[in-house]
Symmetry: C2
Subunit: 156 residues, 2 copies
DNA sequence: ATCAAATAGGTGTATATACATATAATATTA
DNA sequence: TAATATTATATGTATATACACCTATTTGAT
């Protein structure tokens, strides 16, 4: 328990927390940064950013279906990401392609290209392997975190 | 328990998680985004960003002592923030001031101005009030989250 | 004492976030 | 049906993130 308390303190060089709830918010923010940094490090090798990877993952989930920009936005972890511009960069790299929607001319529909599929498979395998060695967590503890975080967010 | 499972699924419109650990990483990333959004919303009223607020808080912790840029960087929640430029904007708003270090001419030391102190007091009070109504969490649950997150990060 | 290495801070560039606005297409409703 | 509101996407601007590189200063080794 003492070691745990030390850790966030070391990370942000501070030990003055108003209370456990305040410390938990800082701990969540710090842990998210830590996770993103680890993943981005791995993605860098493939010229992908964390957000670009998130978009590719979302497209994979429905592949070979095409998905409109709006639907991708809804599924993003960070909602305020500017999806059209992330797509711009993926199009330049030929990992996704844009097309007009046949149903609604306002919509642009996006789908993975073959090289998008390939890069996604390789990176996902790499990231999964990395996560297994870096994020050491029992399934039971993970379930506990899931429960507590969702309790924390309450009704939203 | 069922409600909890639904929540992240709703947030990112997905229910396909490899396992509880994978779900936990997404839950942490999403919850951090959620927390930042709530806080930024409140800070917006004062023309501050989340990161600018973080720098002001760090300066407050040592006030009236001056702190060098490097030390501020070490204490940031998001380590890769570009502190010199965040300070640029705080200087323009006259919330902090720069000075040469008397000990090491490479260093720039930063301190809060009176209006920096004032804005920090007002915003902190606002954010604390907001957190108390938004982040509904028992001290015991918070302690549990702290323990689990630090366990997850392992040895770093 | 001098030179090489390390350190602190700043700057440049690409990408992302946050927010406002613009534009075209669709839906609504008077 | 014509006029209006809404929706989907794109774009513009300020700030932040990520990373490389530059300069001045200090440290350390010989």
């Amino acid at each position: 328990m003492y070691i745990c308390i030390v850790k966030l303190e070391q990370a942000i060089q501070s030990s003055k927390f108003k209370n456990e709830v305040h410390k938990a918010t800082l701990n969540i923010l710090y842990t998210a940064w830590w996770l993103k940094t680890i993943m981005s490090n791995e993605l860098k090798e493939f010229g992908l950013t964390h957000e670009q990877y998130n978009v590719l993952r979302i497209l994979k989930g429905k592949h070979p279906e095409q998905i409109c920009v709006k639907e991708i936005s809804c599924r993003m972890i960070e909602k305020s990401s500017n999806v059209p511009r992330i797509i711009d960069r993926l199009v330049i790299k030929k990992l996704v392609k844009r097309a007009d929607s046949p149903f609604d001319k306002r919509e642009t529909v996006i789908s993975l290209t073959q090289s998008g599929i390939t890069i996604l498979e390789v990176t996902t395998e790499k990231i999964n392997a990395l996560m297994e060695t870096t994020v050491i967590m029992k399934s039971q503890d993970a379930a506990q975190i899931n429960m507590l975080l969702e309790k924390l967010r309450g009704t939203e």
